[in-house]
Amino acid sequence: MKQFFIQALIFVSIIIIPMLGIEINLQLLRQYQWFNGYSKLYKNAKVDTIFLGNSIINAAVREKEFAKLVSQPGKPERQALNLGQGYTTPVEYLFGLQRMVEVNPHVFEGSTFFLPATGGLPDIRTWQDNWMNWHQPALLADYISYPYLWQYCLKPNVSLSEKVLLVCSKHSELIAQGGLLRVGTMYSIDELAEWLTHGGKIAKKGVLIVQEGGIRTDEAAVANFKAMAHRQADADLVNQKPVDWDKTVLKDIVNYVQSHGGKMCFCYIPVGSVMSKPLSTELRKQEIKDFETIAKNWGCKYYRPDFKPEGDEDFPDLMHLSEPKSHLYTKALAEAYLADPP
């Protein structure tokens, strides 16, 4: 019996020790990622412009071009950050912003924030909805505080698996980043398969979407995004409930930014035919119409850049704007901004 337990201990240790090494490395990297990284960078400085949201805003806005276009001649060039990230939720943006303020309480004074109104409607999720995307627990785990973690664990509409994943991710970066590590490994094996089947050459070609913010452009991922776009559109079409704007996390983000001296704006981002389906119901059409007034009441500018996509070919994976069109969209957004600054 004693020998059994000693053997079991050795067996587990052989796995645990190298994993601990990886864990330490990932913990070190953690402080340079997403909001953590920027909070360090802006410890003693102020941000000019921040784009928040998911991968749709990440793909649509070329932040450096935007900064150049809105900079005034003779003055130092403005800085713009695009923190749009795939698989994110509004709660994660709020916690991320709080992290930046923790490090530098003045970081947002005079800053301009952009949140996307995709197809005319911004993110309508409330605190009742899930705060985390199963695929990317690190985006929440790295920022959530213990009282909120406890609240999350008590949420009735979240599965035990997700709760366990978040709790474990909060304490282990290896678990938090596990999904990404697995995707990365599979991507390398894809290249190996490509290499094997093409006589030692890698002929993989992606589509033209900006490859940042967790957006993959390889064939498999594009096919996956297309399927996801259809699924999401179908689900959004079925589960339509009227928006209670006061209960959205978005409102808290607006309040938080404004209370820390920032100016919040919304920018219209066009969508393809699939994603626009759930937005074309009477309920959503009315809400899209109402939102301009809501934004005004919240003290936010709502920009509608003079940009129209030519069709679904501008959305190679049915979700994200193509790379060539993102430049045109950015230019149009900058022009709208300059014409009526917040």
Binding site: I15, L160, L165, R182, I189, L192
Partner: protein, 473 residues
């Protein structure tokens, strides 16, 4: 609760640890409560249906034991009717209604049977068959009626095999719940090893192949030739790895606690004839049908015609057991026809002149392909889809479409390597099952194998949380 879920990852070690901490006389209660929790992870209220059927069968068996003559038969009928009614209401009522409505419509009679649209309790066919095995064995005098209601309830609800078998026999299982099972390191390692192997089959092979199979089988009209052939072969491996993976995890989880469940698979694709296949595939169900349907119908003792009729009945019922759909009925009938062809083939002795080795490999090739052909009917979403697929397998063209069937090159590579590992293990494991051959290897070899399987699952597994296919039955 799914075996391949985070919930089970917490549930299993906690229950197992408590099992060994508790004194023997309380273990049945722990396992019973754990089994209730396991079952209630889906639709909690459905546990009451289980309780109801447990109570009916418990008292029916007690009455059977105490009665004599026709009364015994009467109480057996009560149990059979209760179990079959449950299946009929939840599983077959809507199917029968739909078919009656269609027949009446064909006869220009307008009469609609309202469907119940009930959600099927998970694993219903498994535990009703296990409960039926108990009352039939008590009736036959092979098993004393269990006096302890809790132990009997545990026999029906024992969580490792509650929702997808193996469909146990009372003689094998009930006495084990009354025995004291000390902590035996050999049982623990052997059980955990089998569970690891089961997870490998499910998460790495079955769930990955499902992506390819679903792509083709959900829109079969868009394909013909090689993509259909590949998807069908892939389904053969998917369903084997899915179901035998589940059985391995179930048997392994029970073995850790010192409880032995019956073997459910024995390298079925290594069968050299269709009869042999059914001795190796879902053994607990095929032996159930043999003992409780084929033999009571007269088996092979009442002349040739009756024998053929019995074979067809058994396979037809076996097909419908899997689901209320004509695809399953066709699948069952097809297997019945294969068995009959095989029996006449043997009787004719045409293959006797061939060398034994050639005969073996030819048999293996024909059997595997016949089984794969039948899987088309099992997997297809409708009989129309099944007929389309079956009639468009040939010619073997459209090779250019093979690269675009829902799996990337890397995923394909990972799966091919995993299937090679599976075949390699099965080559060493003939007639033993699992990865027991590792026991004889050096410690370092064993550990390298465990680590390889573990990391293969963790890094290259498909964690979409897909259900086991047989849960729906």
């Amino acid at each position: 609760m799914l075996f391949n879920s985070v919930e089970f990852l917490l549930f299993f070690p906690i229950v197992t640890a408590l099992y060994f901490i508790l004194p023997g006389r309380w273990r049945w209660l722990l396992l019973f409560l754990a089994s209730c929790l396991f079952y209630m992870a889906w639709i909690p209220i459905y546990v009451t249906i289980l309780f109801l059927i447990i109570i009916v069968d418990y008292f029916a068996a007690r009455k059977i034991e105490g009665a004599s003559g026709n009364k015994r038969r009467l109480f057996l009928m009560v149990s059979v009717i209760a179990n079959v009614s449950l299946l009929a209401i939840f599983k077959y009522y809507d199917f029968l209604c739909q078919n009656f409505s269609e027949i009446l419509q064909f006869l220009h009679i307008t009469w609609k049977f309202p469907p119940l649209n009930l959600i099927l309790p998970i694993g219903l066919s498994f535990h009703t068959f296990q409960a039926l095995a108990y009352t039939i064995e008590v009736y036959r005098g092979n098993q004393p009626a269990e006096k302890h209601l809790g132990i009997y309830a545990l026999y029906v609800m024992f969580y490792p095999q509650l929702v997808a078998g193996p469909i146990e026999r009372p003689q094998n299982l009930i006495h084990q719940f009354k025995e004291d099972h000390p902590f035996v390191p050999a049982h623990v390692t052997s059980g955990l090893r089998l569970m690891l192997w089961g997870f490998f089959k499910k998460i790495v092979i079955a769930d990955r192949l499902a992506m390819l199979v679903n792509t083709v089988y959900n829109q079969p009209n868009e394909y013909s030739g090689l993509p259909l052939v590949l998807a069908t072969y892939c389904f053969a491996y998917q369903i084997y790895c899915d179901f035998s993976g589940y059985s391995d995890i179930a048997i392994g989880a029970a073995r850790v606690m010192g409880i032995n469940l019956m073997k459910n698979f024995n390298s079925p694709y290594a069968a050299s004839n269709i009869q042999d296949f059914w001795h190796r595939w879902h053994i607990s169900l095929s032996s159930w049908f043999r003992d409780y349907l084929y033999i009571p119908l007269g088996g092979s003792r009442s002349g040739e015609i009756v024998r053929l009729r019995n074979i067809i009945i058994v396979f037809f019922v076996s097909g419908l057991w899997h689901g209320a759909n004509w695809t399953f009925a066709e699948w069952g009938l097809l297997h019945g026809i294969f068995i009959i062809i095989y029996l006449y083939w043997i009787r004719a002795g045409w293959a006797r002149s061939l060398p034994a080795v050639l005969r073996h490999y030819l048999g293996l090739f024909i059997t595997f392909n016949a089984v794969c052909f039948a899987w088309i009917f099992f997997r297809a979403n409708s009989t129309a889809d099944a007929h389309w697929i079956a009639s468009h397998l040939l010619p073997l063209n459209n090779a250019d479409k093979l690269g675009n069937l829902g799996l990337t090159g890397g995923e394909m590579l990972v799966t091919i390597v995993a299937v090679m590992i599976l075949e390699f293990v099965q080559f060493f494991e003939r007639n033993k099952g699992g990865v027991a051959f590792l026991e004889k290897q050096k410690l370092s070899t064993r550990w390298i194998c465990y680590y390889t399987l573990f990391f293969y699952i963790i890094i290259l597994g498909e964690f979409g949380g897909a259900r086991f296919i047989y849960f729906q039955f």
